[in-house]
Amino acid sequence: MSVVPVSYYLALSAFLFGLGVIAFVFKRNIITIFMAIELMLNAVNLAFVAFARAHSQLDGLVFVFFVIVVAAAEAAVGLAIVLALAHTRQSLNVDRVNLLKF
C-alpha cells in the first residue's frame, strides 16, 4: 500500500507542467512544440489522478480519460496541419511561418 503523500505527486505535476511551458516557449520546431503541449497535458493528468486518489472519487479518472481522448484528436489534426505546412513551406521552423506577424 502506497504511503507517498499526494502533495509529492502534485509537486511533480507542477514541475512537469513548468518544463512543458519552458519547452513550448523555447523550441522552434513545430513538432517539438506539439510535444511540449502533450507534456503539459500529461502533467495535468497526473494532478487529476492524484486528486482522485486523495478524495477517493473516481470522477478524476474519467476526466483523465477525456483528456487523453481530446489529446488524441488534437494530435491527429495538429500533425495533419504540420504535414500541410511542411509541404507548402518546406520548413518546420515556426520562425519561418510569419505571414500573419505584424
Binding site: S2, V3, P5, V6, S7, Y8, Y9, L10, L12, S13, A14, F15, L16, F17, G18, L19, V21, I22, A23, V25, F26, K27, R28, N29, I31, F34, M35, E38, L39, N42, L46, A47, V49, F51, A52, R53, A54, S56, Q57, L58, D59, L61, V62, F65, F66, I68, V70, A71, A72, A73, A75, A76, L79, A80, V82, L83, A84, A86, L92, N93
Partner: protein, 169 residues
Amino acid sequence: MTLPFLLFFACALVALLGAVLLIVAREPIHSALSLILVMVSLAVLYLLLGAPFVAAVQILVYAGAIMVLFVFVIMLLNAGEEERTDWSKIAKYVGWPLGVVVVLGGMHLLFHSEPGAAVANSAVNPPPPADTVALSNLLFRNYLFPFEATSILILIAILGALVLARKDE
C-alpha cells in the same frame, strides 16, 4: 524509505529527466523518445496511485498511438536537427521567468488554495478507489453524454485530418 517511496522517487526522477531531455535535445526524434520516457514513468506512477486502468490507457493510447503518430510524422518529414535561431526576444526574456512563474504559481495554487491544502495536509491516504468496474459504471452512466460527445469529436478530427492531409487537386 519504503518501497513505494523509492519507486516514486525513481519514477519522478526519470520523468523530470525525460522532460529536461525534451528541452535540450536538438533532434525532434530524441525529443519524442524522451517524451515516451516521461509517459511510461507516469504510467508507473498511476499504478502506484492505484489507477491501473488509467495506467493501461496511458501506455496504449499515449505512449502507443499518439507517440507513434509523432514518430511517424517526424520520419515522414525527415525532420533533422533543429535550426538554432537567434533567440527570439520573447524566448530570451520571457521564457525562463514564465516557466518559473508557472511552477511557483502552480505550487501556490496547489498548496495554498483550500482544496489543495486539504489534500496536501492529508497525511494518511484512504485506500485507492481503483475499481475498473466502478469506473466503467461512472463513465457509461453519469458521463454518458460527454462520452458520446467525444466520439463525435473523434469523428470530426478524423475528417479534419483527412481534409488537411489531402493533396490539392
